[in-house]
């Protein structure tokens, strides 16, 4: 049996005397698409940051792509790609230079070939020599996808990726995600209930750092789920 793509066991994160996450446990099968919902301050982004190794859990264990983050975070990072509302691209470098930089940092063989391939995939080959500062928000987000997928990660983390995108850019973003979805696991934080629910195979609702609900999509009735979501939003922050 294939190892879960993401496994959380009694995961907690404490800031001062406040729990951002409290004893969250779950197993996400490989190839799944998990959408995480919850009000502001529910711990969604904290969870994503822990999965991306950008934050350290206070207690509990986290395994990504079968690798324990505590034992070998470097190896886990090879399997993780993160797309957030920050592009993580240097505004004064051009599109190609940005991808070349990350290709070198990830130690990708045939880096130029891979950079060309990714620029083609996100339809930015014609703007490869333009600095990122001159890009629209949608173009920057497409290049951010190329950056996140450059090293062919097995687990892709999405932190409110639609934030600031116009409807056309959202369409392009969705088609790009669809194109790379096969054989990858996605974990997405979203405030857009309908969009997040449409995309997911599993849904998680967090409120005040605790797991309110976690289930596969086929086990969920959308109306009941939406009602639960709105109830948790009313619960406010932790």
């Amino acid at each position: 049996m294939e190892a879960p793509a993401v496994q959380l066991d009694q995961l907690s994160k404490v800031f001062g005397d406040r729990y951002a996450l409290k004893n969250v446990s779950l197993e996400l099968p490989a190839g799944s698409f998990l959408s995480i919902f919850g009000p502001n301050g529910a711990g969604k982004t904290t969870l994503l940051r822990i999965l991306a190794t950008l934050a350290r859990p206070t207690s509990g264990t986290v395994t990504v792509a079968g690798i324990s983050l505590k034992d070998d975070a470097d190896a886990a990072r090879e399997q993780i790609g993160l797309i957030s509302h920050n592009s993580m691209l240097y505004a004064d470098l051009n599109a190609e230079q940005n991808l070349q930089l990350y290709a070198r940092l990830y130690g990708i063989e045939n880096a130029q070939e891979r950079v060309d391939e990714m620029l083609d995939a996100v339809e930015l080959s014609h703007r490869r020599l333009d600095t990122v500062r001159t890009f629209s928000r949608g173009m920057t987000q497409r290049l951010a996808i190329a950056r996140a997928l450059l090293h062919d990660p097995q687990v892709v983390l999405l932190d409110e990726p639609y934030s600031g995108l116009d409807p056309h850019a959202v369409e392009i973003f969705d088609s790009l995600l669809e194109a790379v979805r096969e054989n990858r696991t996605f974990v997405m934080v979203s405030h857009d209930l309908r969009k997040g629910f449409e995309a997911c195979s599993h849904a998680l609702v967090l409120a005040r750092g605790t797991k309110v609900a976690f289930a596969a999509k086929e086990e969920i009735d959308y109306d009941a789920f939406a009602a639960l979501y709105h109830e948790t939003v009313g619960m406010g922050v932790a």
Binding site: L54, M88, Y90
Partner: protein, 207 residues
């Protein structure tokens, strides 16, 4: 960043020159020149350290770098090395100006070129501890003040040792004793603090 630091350093020297231009002949400028040089280096380095992560902060690039499968101490070493080189470049510009402002109108000891040793050792320490602290403060509110509040007390032993060593070789004194001991203290500080920063970097960036 380099040009801002160089211009700032030059302006501080000009202010020093103006401030000291009306002092009497009994005023021993050589005894103070070492301290003033180090005040200049510390404040210029604060300016540079505050801006050293400005590119990485924009659009979350630091997170992008931290996501790559590299030991994060490598990121620390890379950034500390670049900060060290920037500071060194500024000092190369500042040193002739310092000589012009303070040492041409006085008679420094012939040992004054030895001041390059504490400058080198001090710059390594400032770049090391400064890189760790600027990483910690880069995403905080009031980072400019916070960096200074954390940085100056932490580099005080290094600053004290470097000022002593510089003053001795410029104004004269016990080269064998004070200079040697001060440089050894600065080297010891560098070893402990740079190693500590290197080890703690991963914890500092993913707390």
């Amino acid at each position: 960043m380099l040009s801002s630091m160089a211009i700032y350093a030059f302006l501080v020297l000009v202010v020093y020159g103006a401030a000291l231009s009306q002092t009497g002949s009994q005023f021993d400028i050589l005894q103070m020149s070492g301290g003033m040089l180090w005040a200049l280096i510390v404040f210029t380095s604060l300016l540079g350290l505050n801006r050293s992560f400005s590119y990485e902060k924009e659009d979350g690039c630091l997170e992008g770098i931290l996501l790559v499968p590299l030991d994060r101490s490598v990121v620390f070493l890379a950034k500390a090395t670049s900060n060290f080189l920037f500071l060194l470049a500024v000092e190369i510009v500042v040193l002739p100006l310092y000589y012009f402002f303070f040492l041409t109108t006085t008679t420094p000891q012939p040992t004054w070129p030895l001041m390059l040793i504490p400058m080198l050792v001090g710059t390594i320490g400032i770049a090391g501890i400064g890189t760790l602290l600027s990483t910690i403060t880069t995403s905080t509110r009031g980072k400019d003040v916070l960096l200074a509040v954390l940085f100056i007390p932490l580099v005080f032993p290094l600053l004290y040792a470097c000022v002593s060593a510089t003053t001795v070789v410029v104004a004269g004194g016990d080269i064998e004793g004070i200079f040697r001991n001060s440089v050894l203290l600065a080297v010891g500080y560098d070893l402990v603090m740079v190693l500590l920063s290197w080890v703690l970097y991963d914890y500092a960036v993913s707390a």
